[in-house]
């Protein structure tokens, strides 16, 4: 019961860290990109709605 892989003498440590690291990065990027796109679309639509209301 330890994070023994970090002190792994066979040298697999960097590969394990890289795998988990890139998985984390990709998943975080997906979340961020989706959230950013979501807020951008909402802002666009809100300004369109205000423009429409302003005209009428």
């Amino acid at each position: 019961m330890s994070l023994s892989f970090l002190l792994d003498p066979t040298g697999h440590g960097p590969f394990i860290l890289a795998s988990y690291g890139i998985s984390f990065v990709v998943m975080a990027w997906i979340v961020l990109a989706s959230a950013i796109r979501g807020s951008r679309v909402r802002r666009e639509i809100l300004s369109e709605i205000r423009a429409r209301k302003g005209k009428s």
């Binding site: 994070l3 892989f5 066979t10 795998s19 979501g38 709605i49």
Partner: protein, 247 residues
Amino acid sequence: MWTLIKTSFHKLGSPPTFYAFAGTLVPWLALLTLGLMGYGLYGGLALAPADYQQGEGFRIIYVHVPSAWMSLFVYVTMAVAGVVALIWRMKIAEVWITASAPLGASFTFLALVTGSLWGKPMWGTYWVWDARLTSELVLLFLYLGVIALNAAIEDRRTAARACALLAIVGVVNIPIIHYSVEWWYTLHQGPIMANPANPTVHPDMLWPLLMMALAFNLFFFTLVLMRMRTELLDRERNSRWVEEALT
């Protein structure tokens, strides 16, 4: 009971109902995802004993296998959504395809990269043309094709229906591609036997894997619902329900 299922299914087909429903689900799914992933990672990295043959390196399995499973699962859901979209012309099904394609492509990419990083310590090389990696590579191209087709067509409705068809054609091909690559690989079998998974898996190694697989699954569902909401707003931006939902 059956009529209840049918009516809920039909109600969910309406964009405003789906938007609200997905909106309530997303936070819960996100929480569950984080919880399961945390517990799975703990089980996989700290609790599970080191493998007899592979040492610590086998722990990559906890991100590699769930990614690979998800890459296939997402494509199958896209194909099922494709059938629903083409036959019943359900907008929600169309939006599912558009929203899931980049997610599936990401899982495929992760499966390839983690597989490659597993390969280096195990087989001594970053890339080997083994049956699984090669089929996975072709699957990545199939996903990219769907994404590209969606981007190339102006009208959102036509784009979604074209992608629906492509997803259906692709799903028929996936078993064929997988089988043909396996056949090709056994024909040209090199001295390296590629079999990273243990034949008999110790239970302490197995439960974190199942937990991570479930966590990845919930991650996908959280994100696909998030993205579908955005997509629905985008497609229906001029309609009444969007105005009401956002103000």
